[in-house]
C-alpha cells in the first residue's frame, strides 16, 4: 500500500471516530433514567444488536428533560449522548427540525444547514462507512418515536 493510500485510510478512520465521538463514548452525557418521563421508547438495530432507549419529559412544548440508556457500538452510544446534549431544553418544534436535519445529513443531502447542527456535524464522517449509518441515526429515530408518544398523551 502506498503511503498516500495509508494516510487516506487513516484519515477516514479518524473521520469516523472523531475525538468528540470518542469523548462522548467514554464520558456519556444524560445517560441513565428519568424519574417521571412523559414518554420512553426503545430503539433496536436488528442487524447489529444496538439498543437505545430514550426517555423524555415534555413540558409546555419544551423538551425539559432527556435521558438515554442502552448498549451498542461507540457510534450508536456516542450518537445518543451527543443528541441528548444537543436537544435538552429545546422546544419540541426545534428538536423535530434537528432530527430532520441530522438524518438528512446522514443521508448525504446537500441542503442541510451545517451551522444549525454544530458539534453534531462530527457524525458526518460515518457516511463513508455505510453499514454504520444506522448506528448513528438509531437514537434520533428513537427520539422521534418518543416525541410522538409524548404528544399523543
Amino acid at each position: 500500500m502506498s503511503s498516500e493510500e495509508y494516510r487516506r485510510q487513516e484519515s477516514e478512520l479518524d473521520e469516523l471516530y472523531r475525538d468528540i465521538i470518542i469523548d462522548h463514548y467514554r464520558n456519556p452525557r444524560h445517560r441513565g433514567h428519568l424519574t417521571a418521563p412523559s414518554a420512553s421508547h426503545e430503539g433496536l438495530n436488528p442487524l447489529c444488536g444496538d439498543e437505545v432507549t430514550v426517555e423524555v419529559v415534555v413540558d409546555g412544548g419544551t423538551l425539559a428533560e432527556i435521558a438515554y440508556s442502552g448498549s451498542g457500538c461507540s457510534i450508536s452510544q456516542s450518537a445518543a449522548s451527543m443528541m441528548t446534549e444537543a436537544v435538552a431544553g429545546k422546544s419540541v418544534a426545534e428538536t423535530r427540525r434537528l432530527i430532520g436535519d441530522f438524518t438528512a445529513m446522514m443521508r448525504g443531502e446537500e441542503s442541510v444547514d451545517a451551522e444549525a447542527l454544530g458539534d453534531l456535524e462530527a457524525m458526518s464522517g460515518v457516511r463513508k462507512f455505510p453499514v454504520r449509518i444506522k448506528c448513528a441515526t438509531l437514537a434520533w429515530h428513537t427520539l422521534a418515536e418518543a416525541l410522538e408518544e409524548a404528544s399523543a398523551d
Binding site: 470518542i22 442487524l47 447489529c48 448498549s71 457500538c73 461507540s74 448506528c135
Partner: protein, 415 residues
C-alpha cells in the same frame, strides 16, 4: 485439479490458487477472509461449472424433449446423487433442494409441523439456536398453542445434558438442535441427543449448516429424521439448501409449495403429487447453482473431509493460542479445539465488536461482528454481541497473525 492434499495434509498454497477472490486487496491490504461461518469463498471449479452451464446447456429440466433439457436434467440429478453420497443418505430420493437451510427448516415446520404438532404439544430446542431454527418453531407453537422447552447451555458454551431426560414428556413431538453452534463453535453430541429423542418416539431435526462444510457427517449415523444445510457455506453458490429427510416421513408429508414440477396429474378438481423428491421442489428450481454445488462436493471429496477437519483444528488451535496471549480477550465456547468447529467468538477489552470489526476491515481482515442471528444466546452470555473469526480450507496461520496485528491496532486506536 492439482494435488491439493499430501499425506492427509491440505496443500493450502495449491488450494488458495483455486480461489480467485483471495488474490484481491481490501483497503490496500491483501484480503484475509475469516468470515466463513457466514459464507465460504468459491473455487474456480465451481465458478466454471456455473459458466459452463449458462454457456453450453442452459435449459429447464424435467420437461424438455430437446438435447439441452436432457443435459441440464442429467447434470441437476447427478448433483443430487453426489450430495446423497457425500452425506451418506440411503438414496437421492431423500435429498430435497431448497433455497437455504432456513427454507429447509421452514419446509419441515410447515409440511410436517402443521400436521403433527397440536395444542398442548411440546417442542425441544437448545439455547444456542440460530434464529433459523428458532423462529419457525416459535411461529408453529404460537399458531398451534404448543410449548417450547430449551436445553440450556453451560458456562463453557456446551449443552447442559445432565437433565435432558426431564425435558421430554409424553407431549414432546419434536427435538430440533444445531450440530455445530454458529456463534460458539461448539460441536454438539447430536447422535447421543437424537438417540434419546428417537427412543421416545420424538421426531428430530438437526441444523447442520455449520457442520456439513467442516467435518465428515453421515446423516444416517447422526440418526436424525431431518438434517438441513446450505451449499454456500461449503464452496457452493448461494441460493441452494438441502433438506435430507427419512423417506417414510417425506411420503407421509403433504407438499410445502404447490405449482409446476411437484405434480403428477392435475385436473380442474384437484391434483396428485409427484414422486420423491420432486414433490417438494415446486417450480423451476435453482438449476445452475445446484449443478455448481455438485462441483463443490467434488472439490471437498477430493480433499477428504477428515483432512478438512484436521486443517481447521490446526488453524483454530493456533488462533486460540494467539488470542489467549492477548491478555484482554474474552473467549466464548469450549477451550478444546477438538470440541469445536473452526469458529472463534471473542470480545476484546471494552471495545464493541463493531468497532473492532471496522478497524480490522481497514487491515483487510474480514470477520463477523454482532449477535450472529443468535440473540437469545447472546443474552445468556451476558453480551450484546461478539467478534467472530471463522476458518476454512484456505486459511493459514499467517492470516491468524494478521488478525492479531489488527486487534493490536484497534487497541492502540481507541486508547
Amino acid at each position: 485439479m492439482r494435488q491439493e492434499t499430501r499425506d492427509g495434509v491440505l496443500d493450502v498454497v495449491a488450494i488458495r490458487s483455486d480461489f480467485p477472490i483471495l488474490e484481491r486487496e481490501v483497503h490496500g491490504k491483501r484480503l484475509v477472509y475469516l468470515d466463513n461461518a457466514a459464507t465460504s469463498q468459491k473455487p474456480r471449479q465451481v465458478i466454471d461449472a456455473l459458466v459452463r452451464y449458462y454457456e453450453t446447456y442452459n435449459a429447464n429440466i424435467h420437461r424438455a424433449v430437446h438435447a439441452l433439457g436432457e443435459e441440464a436434467t442429467a447434470a441437476y440429478e447427478e448433483a443430487r446423487e453426489k450430495v446423497a453420497r457425500f452425506i451418506g443418505a440411503p438414496s437421492s430420493e431423500s435429498v430435497i433442494f431448497t433455497r437455504n437451510t432456513t427454507e429447509a427448516i421452514n419446509l419441515v415446520a410447515y409440511a410436517w409441523g402443521r400436521a403433527n404438532v397440536g395444542e398442548g404439544d411440546e417442542i425441544i430446542l437448545t439455547q444456542m439456536e440460530h434464529h433459523s431454527n428458532l423462529i419457525p418453531w416459535q411461529q408453529l407453537a404460537a399458531e398451534k398453542g404448543a410449548t417450547i422447552r430449551y436445553i440450556e447451555i453451560t458456562p463453557e458454551g456446551t449443552l447442559e445434558l445432565g437433565n435432558l431426560s426431564a425435558l421430554f414428556s409424553p407431549r414432546t413431538k419434536l427435538l430440533a438442535m444445531p450440530h455445530v453452534s454458529n456463534s460458539l463453535g461448539t460441536i454438539n453430541p447430536a447422535e447421543e441427543i437424537v438417540a434419546e429423542a428417537s427412543k421416545r418416539g420424538v421426531t428430530t431435526l438437526v441444523d447442520g449448516a455449520q457442520a456439513m462444510p467442516h467435518m465428515p457427517v453421515d446423516v444416517q449415523a447422526v440418526g436424525a429424521d431431518f438434517y438441513a444445510f446450505s451449499a454456500h457455506k461449503m464452496l457452493g453458490p448461494t441460493g441452494v439448501g438441502v433438506l435430507y429427510a427419512r423417506r417414510e416421513l417425506l411420503e407421509e408429508m403433504a407438499p410445502f409449495l404447490g405449482g409446476g414440477e411437484m405434480i403428477l396429474k392435475v385436473t380442474f378438481e384437484g391434483a396428485t403429487w409427484n414422486d420423491l423428491p420432486w414433490k417438494f421442489e415446486a417450480g423451476t428450481p435453482n438449476i445452475a447453482d445446484v449443478i455448481a454445488f455438485g462441483s463443490a462436493i467434488d472439490y471437498l471429496d477430493a480433499l477428504g473431509m477428515d483432512n478438512v477437519r484436521r486443517h481447521e483444528i490446526e488453524v483454530t488451535t493456533y488462533a486460540l493460542e494467539r488470542l489467549r496471549a492477548l491478555d484482554d480477550v474474552t473467549l466464548y465456547g469450549p477451550d478444546d479445539p477438538e470440541q469445536r468447529g473452526g469458529v472463534v467468538s471473542f470480545n476484546f477489552g471494552d471495545l464493541h465488536p463493531h468497532d473492532v470489526g471496522t478497524i480490522l476491515d481497514r487491515h483487510g481482515v474480514a470477520i463477523r461482528a454482532g449477535h450472529h442471528c443468535t440473540q437469545p444466546l447472546m443474552r445468556c452470555l451476558g453480551v450484546t454481541g461478539t467478534a467472530r473469526a471463522s476458518f476454512y480450507i484456505y486459511n493459514t496461520q499467517e492470516e491468524v497473525d494478521a488478525l492479531i496485528e489488527g486487534l493490536k491496532a484497534a487497541r492502540d486506536f481507541f486508547n
